[in-house]
Symmetry: C2
Subunit: 261 residues, 2 copies
Amino acid sequence: VNALAFNSNKVQELRRLLGRRSSRHDERRFVVEGPVLVAEAVAAGWTCEAQFVPEGSAGAVEGAGEVFELADGVLERVASTETPQAPLAIVAMPDDLAVDSLLSAAAFVVVLDRVGDPGNLGTILRSAEAAGADVVVLTPGSVDPFNPKVVRASAGALFHVPILTAGIDDVAAAGLELFGTTSHGFRGRTVVSYTEAALTGRIAVVMGNEAAGLPDEWDDTVGPVRSWITIPHGGRSESLNVAMATTVIVFEAARQRALSR
Amino acid sequence: VNALAFNSNKVQELRRLLGRRSSRHDERRFVVEGPVLVAEAVAAGWTCEAQFVPEGSAGAVEGAGEVFELADGVLERVASTETPQAPLAIVAMPDDLAVDSLLSAAAFVVVLDRVGDPGNLGTILRSAEAAGADVVVLTPGSVDPFNPKVVRASAGALFHVPILTAGIDDVAAAGLELFGTTSHGFRGRTVVSYTEAALTGRIAVVMGNEAAGLPDEWDDTVGPVRSWITIPHGGRSESLNVAMATTVIVFEAARQRALSR
């Protein structure tokens, strides 16, 4: 069998899956890059359909599907990083998760409302998993969790924490108490420090878009989010980005929840 | 006055200051990029010696020094980002800070032992400043805090929290209690959860290199670090990177310190 050229069908498929959200979701497949992440996907029980390594390389990962060889220079042209590591693996997306039953069973949820930066989402997935969140919810308009930058930044957390796409009302309907996070307060919102909020029950921590935050029309009398928290800090505004703020809050929730058990 | 060409002395000086640690420290100057960060440097009282904008642009920042114009395309060639924003400003490094007196006066210190990634250092500076740390100490072998990637990732925190280069023994000599952080424990170390450690006195949180952690030969009977903490988390090892771990720990310290006041 010859090594695959850049213009071969299989390589072009890899390119589409790396580059296009619509291709990933139409085909229900995405790409995982590098030996550590591919092995993590296999270990977590995700189905790897095929893997691609440079011709003559010994870089295939056991259990990560049929091995295809890439002609000289093709890995570098197709991968999403400047210094790519083989294998690139095509991985099947899990079946759509059942929103209602997952949320009804969850006690600790992180909701991201239109978070747009892949690095932020990846970092938040790491924090959420490490802090013991049951589910991460993305509202419509969020960055695709199967974007290669998210996959990389999540450092494997993607394979371990269930990710739903759902609306804020779905989360409220599951009986979770919603804690909106704000860096600046807003009329109609009573805001308390995140360390003074009781984060021990069935809760959802709700984080907003990087630039816009959570919708201004949500206040503590109307709309799904009735409790508002903030991270007090010295000096300048906007000291923390959304990934750092989420990390701080989910670990405070984990601390309180461990104490209350 | 003509706009500066790429091979002009001033543009080559910018390149050197962006690209070379030795040039920055020999000349005691570094480069700050973009209107938000340059304005932050000016507002924080740092001395901007010169600023560079594209020819015909209105992008100069008030108070950021003499304005020089760059010929077409020069900004893109010299800046450290793919989509550069003017101005680039040459900023004077502060005088070397007095290690002994700063550490003796400090109550809440973050020590980074040979942290190497500029993005991690920038994020840690943001967290440390937001959590109210008095000083950040870098041990010899750490990434340069005036590296353009650190400057950018710090989002202005660099201008607000004093940064020292010093050894771990200098920190111990200042009478601070050192809390070493470990993700895996080590023989000879008694490790407690970071939420169970008393982080309220005169403390230094000590974080290790991304790959190596803190030196294995430091244990709780020999060497400067007598107290060891860890962040418990579910499932997989190495769930958090050093920047995320530092963020979690400094905000727990801030929480405890606010309660104890």
